[in-house]
């Protein structure tokens, strides 16, 4: 191996990134984890309900039942081999977390406790009260500190460095790409460029292998999403700009129960423990434990009919609520001024999880790019298909996170490459772009206002129920915004700690990812899982039992449908 050359660059410091880091390190590689915020600030901290594994500690269960439930929820769009591998690895993943010290709740027999989540045929979700993601994430973080894993906070991903010319935000940056555009399959990733948020400097980090674990794109539905401010699909946009492939981007899961005013998540465990959904008349209108897409549509339908929808937990009693769902009780009081022990909780369904993402193969290698892996919500490993089961995302980030780390190391040691010798102009290009934003761009239009409006329009027109005319109008609106970016820019011209600049870069990523979401939604003239069109209410297997795949070639967004085999 070359000396001083980083083996594995991990971009994103949530559960998937930290799991990859630990397994890469364990396999003997040098590892650097880079993230735009602090590791414990990631989306993983927000996962409440639990992590699936067919331990059968509470009710009888089997790996096969876990596989069957996952495949059923995926509506034919999954890779059954990947699902099988994930479900088989689930008990081992729980065991690994147990060894690291994750404080999972216990049964009376001192085994890991498990609860019911929607779409599951058994009590399968292992939990730590309703802080499951938080406690897993912090335990992973503690373990990373113990293992001396190097982490770099507040580094915002700008672009991948490849041997295929320059990818970038602006048309001027993309210009250089046309000159030596290679066939997409031969693009090699050499590392990535970052904005060091604190200093304002643009820097490059070279590595033999890069793992992208940057999270989903729920932030597209701004103010109508349970996701954090940073769920802006950065890694997904970056892969697209570098010539890699995305898939199934039209599949966005809407969580049935977020607080009406603040879009704050109320965990599915609230229904799992026996909570009811009722309308203004006090009537229940749906089996609360059906899969999320079905429940979300039922609620949306009530709201369309002029009803308000509430979560009713009153019958569970104060003691049970405070023991099992302390966080929910707190959030209701804070954001809605509601005490769920005595009052109904006003709710609405909001964007929650991105099933689509960076297209990867069974080894989690990014399609179209060499030496590059993707894992977690930013990726589409085809384990969730058209609709993710509650409890399977924490499982994915741990199980596949570890797999990505292991696989990436495996090929590092086999390879002798010249990653750090290949010169590219990516760094210069990105430096010029950032300097331009700070110096030249006017600020004639406020992008925050535009982004808020776009978020609401995505919720209305590319949300739970879709229609081609509305999708088309929204796609036009988005393209007008893209063409108008030169008139936006940033008002804050300071170089250091410029969060206005970061917000603007994230907005550009949202626009690129959003365009693919809309186009893919338009193409899919059927209803499947989370994607529902009133005019096409059925699954059309003949045409659409297929993954929708997107990439950029010769500066144009290309797409194809790839049939699902088996």
């Amino acid at each position: 191996m070359e000396k001083n050359m980083l083996d594995i660059l991990i971009i994103g410091s949530g559960g998937a990134g930290l799991s990859s880091a630990l397994s890469s390190k364990e396999a003997g590689a040098s590892v650097l984890v880079v993230g735009k915020s602090y590791p414990t600030a990631s989306q993983t901290s927000m996962a409440q309900g639990g992590m699936n594994a067919s331990l059968g500690n509470v009710t009888p269960d089997s790996i096969q039942a876990h596989i069957d439930d996952t495949i059923k929820s995926a509506h034919e769009l999954c890779n059954k081999e990947m699902v099988k591998q994930l479900c088989e690895d689930a008990p081992k993943s729980i065991e690994w977390l147990e060894q690291l010290g994750v404080p999972f709740d216990r049964t009376a027999e001192n085994r890991v406790a498990q609860r019911q989540l929607g779409g599951a045929s058994s009590k399968r979700a292992c939990y730590a009260q309703d802080y499951t993601g938080l406690k897993i994430l912090h335990t992973l973080y503690d373990t990373c500190l113990k293992e001396g894993i190097e982490m770099r906070e507040e580094y915002f991903l700008l672009n991948l460095i490849t041997d295929n010319g320059i990818g970038g935000f602006s048309p001027e940056q993309d210009e250089a790409k046309a000159v030596d555009s290679k066939s997409p399959k031969n693009i090699t990733v050499l590392g990535a460029t970052f904005l060091d948020i604190v200093t304002g400097e643009v820097k490059e980090i070279r590595a033999k292998n890069t793992i992208i674990a940057t999270g989903g794109y729920g932030g597209l539905y701004k103010n109508f999403s349970t996701n954090s401010e940073g769920a802006t699909g950065d890694g997904i946009a970056v892969v697209l700009r570098a010539g890699g492939y995305l898939s199934d981007m039209e599949f966005v899961q809407f969580h049935p129960t977020a607080l009406k005013g603040s879009a704050t998540l109320i965990s599915e465990s609230a229904r799992g423990e026996g909570g009811y959904l009722v309308n203004t008349k006090g009537e229940r209108f749906i089996d609360e434990l059906l899969p999320r897409d079905v429940v979300a549509r039922a609620i949306a339908s009530q709201i369309t009919q002029g009803e308000e929808v509430f979560l009713d937990l009153r019958h569970l009693g104060e003691e049970k609520l405070l023991t099992l769902m302390p966080q929910e009780v707190h959030l209701c009081k804070l954001h809605e001024n509601i005490d769920p022990v005595h009052q109904l909780i006003p709710i609405k369904p909001v964007a929650h999880y991105s099933m689509g993402g960076i297209d990867v193969n069974e080894n989690l290698e990014v399609t179209g790019l060499k030496n590059c892996y993707a894992v977690g919500e930013c990726s589409n490993a085809k384990v969730h298909g058209a609709n993710r089961l509650g409890g399977n995302s924490l499982l994915e980030i741990i199980s596949l996170g570890r797999l990505a780390g292991k696989n990436a190391v495996g090929c590092v040691f086999q390879r002798t490459d010249k990653t750090n010798k290949t010169t590219t102009k990516q760094l210069e290009s990105d430096q010029e772009y950032i300097e331009g934003l700070l110096e030249e761009y006017p600020w004639e239009k406020n992008f925050y206002t535009i982004q808020n409006k776009l978020g609401e329009d995505f919720y209305k027109y590319a949300g739970i129920v879709r229609d081609n005319t509305e999708l088309n109008n929204l796609l036009n609106e988005l393209r007008v915004i893209k063409a108008d970016l030169d008139n936006m820019g940033i008002g804050d011209k300071n170089k250091e700690n410029n969060t206005n600049l970061v917000d603007f870069l994230q907005f550009q990523n949202i626009l690129e990812v959003g365009e693919v979401v809309l186009d893919a939604s338009l193409v899919r003239d059927e209803s499947r899982g989370a994607h529902y069109k009133t005019a096409f209410p059925n699954e059309e297997n003949k045409l659409y039992k297929a993954h929708s795949v997107y990439w950029i070639e010769d500066k144009v967004l290309q797409n194809k449908l790839v049939k699902v085999v088996s």
Partner: protein, 229 residues
Amino acid sequence: MQIKINRQNNIESFELPFQSSTLLKALYHIKNNEDNSLTFSSSCRSGVCGTCAVRVNGKEVLACSYTIQEGDLVEPLAYHEVQRDLKVNKQKVRETLKQATAWLQQSQEATITQEHIHLTEKQSDCILCDSCYSSCPVLEVNPNFIGPFALTRAYRYTADPRERDIQAIIDNIQSNGIWDCTLCGNCTEVCPQGIDPKMDITMLRGTASQFGYRDPNFQAMDFGFGGGF
């Protein structure tokens, strides 16, 4: 409604069009509509990521979980390097976790009961918002003090039946650690998660004494009488 923000020791007032709002929503309103350069940190908006802690009228709160009042003065966390406006450097403060070696030292097989889980349920709710650190008066006189959150985390692992080597943690929190705390309870008062670091530090002192450590302050006050009274 009006709030004031301390920006690089310059107090600026902002008029807000809300009757009631979380502080975070108010900060975003200002940044999005009035002054793009207002700088603060936030992420999850629901009190679990620990990013948005600030001080309001001298007391630590999470901006996303605090309802603003007329005339509030908003300031960055104390004992952190202020990078800009309300944004602080948490990297240096996180070094205390390494100093305390607040992790599972040596994992062993153990029977874990729900009672064990309850014992450190609160401690493992920590979101690393640094509120407790900012409220701690010991840091005024000893900037090297490990501080409340890292000690709570150390306790969380010492109380875990899976920990085989409790002494390793205890050894690492002697210097600038458990004995430097004055047990004033500020940390307990400001913790948004209801954690009680003061109690955790007291528990750690108890464990330390089992390993033969004694309060060095007490020894210093002992004036040669042998302490045997």
